[in-house]
Amino acid sequence: MSEDNRKVVIELKDVCRDFKVGDEVVHALRGVSFKIYEGEFVTIQGTSGSGKSTLLNQIGCLDTPTSGEYYLDGVSVRKMGSNQRAKLRNRKIGFIFQNYNLLAKTTAVENVELPLMYNAKVKPKERRQRAIKALVEVGLGDRLEHKSNQMSGGQMQRVAIARALVNDPTIILADEATGNLDTRTSFEMLVLFQKLYNEGHTIIFVTHNPEIAQYSSRNIFLRDGQVQSDTINHNILNAEEALAKLPKKD
């Protein structure tokens, strides 16, 4: 596989992140380097305290490295101010959180519209159309006007995924996206993620569940703030088949 021909969307070069806790300095990331190419489905695994969350914040442009360089789509993030990073998040990243983080008492469409609201270039009409399209894509075409408190966990997470897709991001960043769901719904989500992967989306999935790693194309293990292993998964399991094998809910 000639990797150099593929487009690099994320490049970390010796990224370190230190936190000051009282008088002590905690090294959460101790020089992390890797490249993620367009169209990859990467899981980042590690035990708690391995630096997973810190790395996620770095990739998600919510934080900047203490040292080292991070290029998102070729742009260096390290020296960016918070407003520039906000814009970057808005245009290039789609976030999916463990607890969905939908706006309360708000319809599915309005929730999905949210990222586009902070993009002045998208007019209201287009905003709505794109939100509906994203919802149809995640299989919620019939739940457009349902409010967040009228939906099941799986539906809420689908709305969250639609919200992550709506700005047509460079990367989709999922943080334990199946952590709050039962096994069956988790697999339904994995089916959806695999569908997005097959459509060419770049997905980074942070999890501590090794099972999920089997359904992704590449696995990165973190340990004590460093990359312990980084392997290509040549035998990607099919989530749809796994779902079919699960006992049906009654």
């Binding site: 914040n57 998600g60 919510l62 934080d63 918070s82 407003n83 906000a86 814009k87 998040r89 808005n90 245009r91 976030f95 959180f97 983080n101 706006l103 309360a104 008492k105 708000t106 949210l114 990222p115 609201m117 902070y118 993009n119 002045a120 209201p124 919200r163 700005n167």
Partner: protein, 429 residues
Amino acid sequence: MNIIILIAILVVAFLIYRRYRDESLLGMIFKVAIKALSNNKARSFLSMLGIIIGVAAVIVMMSIGQGSKEAVRKNISQMGTNIIMIRPGADRRGGVRMDPSSMQTLKQEDYEAIRNECKYVKYISPEVQSGGQAIYGSNNYNTTAYGESLEYMDIKQWEIEDGTCFTEQDVQTAAKVCIIGKTLVDNLFPDGQSPVGKTIRFKSTPVRVIGVLKSKGYNSFGMDQDNLMIMPYTSVMKRLLAQTYFQTINVSSLTEETTDQTIEELTEVLRRSHKLKDDAEDDFTIHSQAEMMETMSSTMDSITIILVVAAAFSLLVAGIGIMNIMLVSVTERTKEIGLRMSVGARSIDISVQFLIESILISITGGLLGVLLGYGISALATSLFGLPTSVPFWSVILSFVVCTIIGIVFGYIPAQKAANLDPIEAIRYE
């Protein structure tokens, strides 16, 4: 009228909002703010309540102040703005006790001198007063007898409803005749018979009623203008009081515009008549009705200001209430703020959102307060007969003040929201 303008402005504002709510980021933020407030109706209303009460209090105070002022002005100008009063004694304020003899400086000679020499004076009437009980049959009533000249009726522009006025001859002979007001008629002649021609007793002196004054009702100080009797000044001086000096000389200037010239002329004539040296102080005081009106107005203004300032403090408290609620709201919605930030909201977007929420609370509260204020004012007028008038500028001022309160007290919560770290905010439980 004002309320119609107000409603028109609101309708236009609403239409503009409808038109642009989806078009711009600001419109969108507005929509979000309205949604956030309506999601929590009870709380929004409670935080508004302070503003509502505060603004209503300010409006009511202003309307009562303005209403009373207008009523007083109207009253005084009804009495005639060209009226000038001369009183004995120097114009001393601050409680300096004066020699009683200084209160006896207005005499018959002064009256005649003014009548003969002052060309700006149209009508003149010396005045003496005597309070006491008027009795007719078994009925009695406390009243005041005013001793006046014939011209008094012209100065005051009063009319006689029944009977006639006294004559020049009555003045010459100090006749025991009187014209009485409606209140006296009602109390002394309750069975409805005409008092004209009857003889009543005032301070045990029999006086014949020759006329009844047209009713004028109460004035703005709550004084019954119909509880009086008017007699020739000579009669009151000789028959009732046995005194040789006047308490007041009432004069009317040719027109309102000549009031100042009249005062100058009067001063000159009186100083000459009293043989005052150039460096001596006047031993009399001249007030014009116009001047009184100004004094009354400015007194009313100060009272209004005090009331409004007191009411305005409640607005300050209301502002603190809004800040309190907004701070709670920011904490409660930390997660939402984190989410908005992670999908691309800048600090300024978040801060504007919370500012607009607090402005919305205070303006909506202000609007309801204005309506409530209008309502209370109208109620005060219809139930208690208080004169009220809501000045339109006070409505505008209320809105401006409410917006400022919203910005000032919304600022700290908005900054708190904007300065949240998105990483911590999104994981906040």
